[in-house]
């Protein structure tokens, strides 16, 4: 029997998801034994044309990481969707926009101006040199992808079968999903989130919790956190209450607050809204002035609460003004 075909792709991502696959360590050899890897730009030499020549639905599983940010990302997402039986949004970016999704806080024009004209490390003459989608050269016309105004998650562009959250997904969870798929057990229903839990990060965190009452928020550099007590109890903004479990509470084990990369827990559609709900219950103030004073201590609510999920939140982007 022919080996099942596996494809891996990176769209707008940092490459960390691909590293997470390599972090399977010696099990990566098992992956190569079990699967016929037909496409993996970060590790192996395949061309887009190799995929275009394949029959539709001839790839058994495609692990797609990265958000959709330009025309190339979208074209390849559509191509891999057509060629794959099972398309998996792999990692926070594909699932909910991830860190690149924070580009939705601003506009394409502002990003381009900063990158190609205004940043201190850019030497700009004549108002800056901007990349063009089409450039004529002696040898012919060169095309590069067009960057979009708004970053999207994979499922806002094509149909997605399953989701594996995490920035990056934990290798043990990736292996768990591979083992599950190879076991031949019936696959879960479409749209299921694999390789993660069904509770919140707090349920995995071993820190000691008390009844929460916060009268002062600290930014991480302002305080030396107690390694045994709940970080939120100490006034450090920790996304644990609004984040799905599955990572093993790695960050809080390292005395660092949860950043929310596993996305919202089940039945929560908007991570930021849930975090506001959670924090509002534990802020220790009853007078409007006190409340405003405490809220002033939270720097950048939108960027903190939607660090990974802005592009997949209810409102998806900041309005252009």
């Amino acid at each position: 029997m022919a080996k099942p075909k596996l494809a891996l792709y990176w769209a707008a991502s940092c490459g960390g998801c691909d590293i997470a696959v390599l972090d399977l360590q010696e099990k990566i050899l098992d992956v190569a034994n079990i699967f016929d890897i037909v496409f993996w730009p970060v590790a192996m030499d395949f061309k887009y044309d190799d995929i275009r020549k394949m029959d539709d639905k001839s790839i058994d599983i495609c692990l797609f990481n990265g958000s959709i940010r330009n025309s190339e990302n979208a074209d390849i997402a559509r191509l891999l969707r057509a060629k794959s039986k099972v398309l998996v949004a792999f990692g926070s970016c594909a699932l909910e926009g991830g860190i690149p999704g924070l580009a939705n806080l601003t506009t394409k024009d502002r990003i381009m101006d900063w990158a190609f004209r205004d940043s201190p490390s850019t030497v700009s003459q004549n108002g800056g040199v901007y990349p063009q989608t089409h450039t004529k050269t002696q040898e012919g016309q060169i095309e590069i992808p067009e960057i979009w105004e708004t970053v999207k998650s994979l499922d806002q562009v094509v149909e997605v079968d399953y989701y594996i959250p995490g920035c990056p997904p934990q290798p043990s969870q990736i292996w768990g999903v591979i083992e599950f798929i190879m076991s031949g057990k019936p696959l879960p229903e479409k749209g299921a989130i694999l390789g993660a839990g069904t509770k919140t990060c707090c349920d995995e965190c071993t820190r000691e919790r008390k009844e929460k009452k916060i009268s002062r928020f600290f930014r991480p550099y302002e305080i030396e956190p107690n390694p045994n007590e709940c970080l939120l109890d100490q006034g450090i903004l920790c996304m644990g209450p609004a984040t799905r479990d599955g990572c093993g509470a790695l960050c809080t084990k390292a005395n660092v607050p949860c950043r929310g990369c596993y996305g919202p827990p089940p039945n929560v559609i908007d991570q930021g809204a849930k975090m506001i709900s959670a924090l509002s219950s534990i802020i220790d103030a009853h007078e409007p002035d006190d409340i405003e004073r405490i809220l002033d201590q939270i720097a950048d609510p939108i960027g903190t609460f939607y660090r990974f999920s802005l592009a997949h939140s209810i409102l998806r982007r900041v309005e252009k003004s």
Binding site: E146, W148, E149, T150, Q156, V268, I269, D270, G272, A273, K274, I276, S277, L279, S280, S281, I283, A285, H286, P288, I291, E292, L295, P301, I302, F305, S313, I314, L315, R316, R317, V318, E319, K320, S321
Partner: protein, 151 residues
């Protein structure tokens, strides 16, 4: 056609909804723009509901609850008094005028106050004009929110 604000009102069961009812039976005239949703407590109004209301086309959202100290659940409206200013900051960050979200205390006996809140808020939203969001772009063709290919 002139702009008629679409406003969603979340009213607590024990005070404000009863206050709205009193305004009705007392035949106090008020603007018809507020679509009332009854909740058990203003503290039950999850920030998700409010963002969802804006997503689905509300031009303004008003949350009404019992006066502080009068909550049927003792502490519910104290959660609200922290939640709404917090949420106002968030929607401001999203580029939505925070005046589009309002918190008011209306007791069961304040039918006239209910009408006053509804009328003034409706006029304020009318002055602010329709709320147009990125997420609305795909909905003009009757599509699901945000599905349209907006680059």
């Amino acid at each position: 056609m002139s702009f008629e604000p679409k406003i969603v009102g979340f009213l607590c069961n024990w005070c404000s909804y009863t206050g709205a009812d009193l305004a009705g039976v007392s035949r106090i005239k008020s603007a018809p723009n507020v679509r009332i949703i009854r909740t058990m407590c203003s503290g039950r109004v999850d920030p998700t509901f409010i963002l969802k209301a804006f997503q689905l086309g509300a031009d303004g959202v008003v949350v009404m609850g019992c006066h502080l100290g009068d909550c049927h659940y003792q502490e519910g409206n104290y959660k609200t008094i922290r939640r709404i200013p917090f949420l106002k900051r968030l929607i401001r960050d999203f580029g939505i005028d925070p005046r589009r979200l309002r918190l008011e205390w209306v007791s069961a006996s304040e039918g006239d106050r209910f009408a006053h809140v509804v009328n003034t808020f409706t006029e304020e939203i009318r002055a602010l004009g329709p709320l147009e969001l990125y997420i609305h772009a795909g909905r003009k063709d009757g599509q699901k929110a945000g599905v349209a290919e907006v680059k």
